[in-house]
């Protein structure tokens, strides 16, 4: 029978467990105290980062929650006195950093962190920073509309502070080239993401301010990204550099939905880099068209003014008041025709050649003036009631009251 159990004796002797009595034995309490003695001094006043879960605020006012990451969880307690000083309300899912000490609670066999400080980290931290800085600068008046500089209508030199290789610069270039091909684009090549890059943006703004011949206006910006990616443009030092700029600054950071501190301080906020480029560039072909319209309007105005003057002179020429020998009238008519010819020729030349000068033009103008006709011994006849010039006999009527204007005054008369 013993053979039936012989396999039991085949167990290797060295694997047999030692007897408890041969080693020192802790009581549960002793071990707990030992653990406490190792852990507490080792993890005193340390920072831990994680996500809040199981958050509870007890009726006593103390806060209980767990701090977790993907692979572990640790219990935390924050006493009421600490919790009351928080500048945000803790919620499950928030990424936070806490400062505290590990404490072992031997009666329950648990350890936890006594939290002495808690701040938001990650996105939450950045958002809190953003809001705090926004409020601070707003209160200082850096966002005031009264301080915003106007953009020039025609920008000939554009300063751009961004990365040469980024999408933002390519977009800006494309828009400017198609709308305002005459514009010089001056790129201050700056990194736009990562710690320390704010100094490159600031250098760019300052560079253009000390070289104003290179920039009528400055665009700073970059393409889209996360809040962390865009963070350079939320730095206070960048905001201050924009504020100090004597040249107008356009902030074009990320997409339409992204707002940055630089957007608020800048003279103009553009939704995107392409939008910024549109704001500084006028559409050349539209603008040339507009100028062409101005030109024809001015031409038309002056031509019709000229025609009106001719009408007046014709009125004098044909006036019933002329009781002149026929040859004087003929001479005068010839003179007027010459003047008209000169005048028309003048306009033809003017409209064909921009910079043509006309010698003695003033003299022609003066002789066309009806007042100078009076000086030469002619008179103007007007209807007494309507003051309208009477240009010919057929517009007169028997007994009509008229006023004759001479060089030195007027006399009334009646048509016979």
């Amino acid at each position: 029978m013993s053979d039936l159990f012989s396999y039991l004796s085949e167990e290797p002797a060295e694997e047999k467990k030692p007897k408890a009595a041969e080693e020192s034995v802790y009581s549960v309490h002793e071990l707990s105290i030992r653990i406490k003695g190792v852990l507490e001094p080792e993890f005193d006043d340390i920072w831990v980062e994680g996500e809040i879960s199981n958050y509870k605020r007890h009726s006593s006012g103390h806060h209980y929650f767990s701090l977790k990451d993907e692979r572990a969880v640790i219990s935390c307690v924050m006493w009421r006195s600490t919790g009351d000083k928080l500048d945000f309300s803790p919620e499950n899912g928030q990424k936070i950093r806490i400062k505290g000490s590990v404490s072992v609670y031997e009666a329950a066999g648990r350890y936890q962190i006594d939290v002495k400080r808690m701040i938001l980290s990650g996105i939450g931290y950045l958002q809190a920073q953003f809001e705090a800085l926004k409020m601070k600068l707003f209160e200082e008046g850096l966002f005031g509309q009264a301080h915003k500089k106007k953009l020039p209508l025609l920008v000939k030199n554009l300063g751009v502070v961004t990365a040469e290789t980024g999408a933002a610069f390519q977009d800006i270039k494309k828009v400017i080239r198609s709308r305002s091909p005459f514009m010089n684009i001056n790129l201050f090549n700056a990194r736009v993401q990562g710690k320390g890059t704010e100094t490159e943006i600031i250098d760019g703004i300052r560079y253009f301010n000390s070289h104003p011949e290179l920039a009528d206006v400055i665009i700073i910006g970059r393409g889209g990204g996360s809040l962390e990616d865009l963070w350079t443009f939320n730095e206070e030092s960048v905001a201050r550099a924009i504020w100090d700029s004597a040249l107008p600054v356009i902030s074009a950071v990320g997409h339409e939905i992204d707002f940055s501190i630089s957007d608020f301080v800048a003279d103009v906020r553009a939704a995107t880099p392409s939008h910024a480029a549109e704001l500084v560039s006028l559409n050349m072909s539209e603008e040339l068209h507009k100028i062409g319209q101005y030109e024809s309007r001015i031409n038309n105005l002056v031509v019709s003014y000229f025609n009106y003057q001719k009408e007046i002179i014709r009125g004098i020429e044909n006036s019933h008041a002329f009781k002149m020998p026929a040859d004087i009238i003929r001479n005068y008519t010839v003179g007027l025709d010459n003047l008209e010819d000169n005048f028309d020729a003048y306009f033809l030349q003017k409209m064909n050649k921009e910079n043509m000068r006309l010698e003695g033009f003033d003299g022609i103008l003066r002789s066309l003036n009806p007042e100078s006709v009076l000086n030469r011994g002619y008179a103007i006849v007007r209807d007494k009631k309507t003051s309208k010039i009477i240009p010919d006999v057929k517009t007169t009527s028997h007994g009509q009251q008229v006023e004759i204007k001479f060089r030195d005054g007027s006399a009334d008369a009646e048509i016979d």
């Binding site: 010089n184 684009i185 090549n189 030109e295 001015i298 003057q309 921009e354 103008l365 003036n369």
Partner: protein, 67 residues
Amino acid sequence: MKEMKYEDAVKKLTEIMEKLESGEVPLDKTFELYEEGKKLITFCRNQLTEAEGKILKISKNGTEEIK
């Protein structure tokens, strides 16, 4: 004329047109305005067309023209 700003030229042009339209300008002044208007128009056109823009890159290594 070289130092004038584009928007100032456009503003002056508009003013000249308004004056001419009012019909209250004496004849000699009319042609004075006309001459000035023509100069402004030439100035504006030149501002838009006389040059082809360049691209400069400014970096720590200096300044260079790029495409």
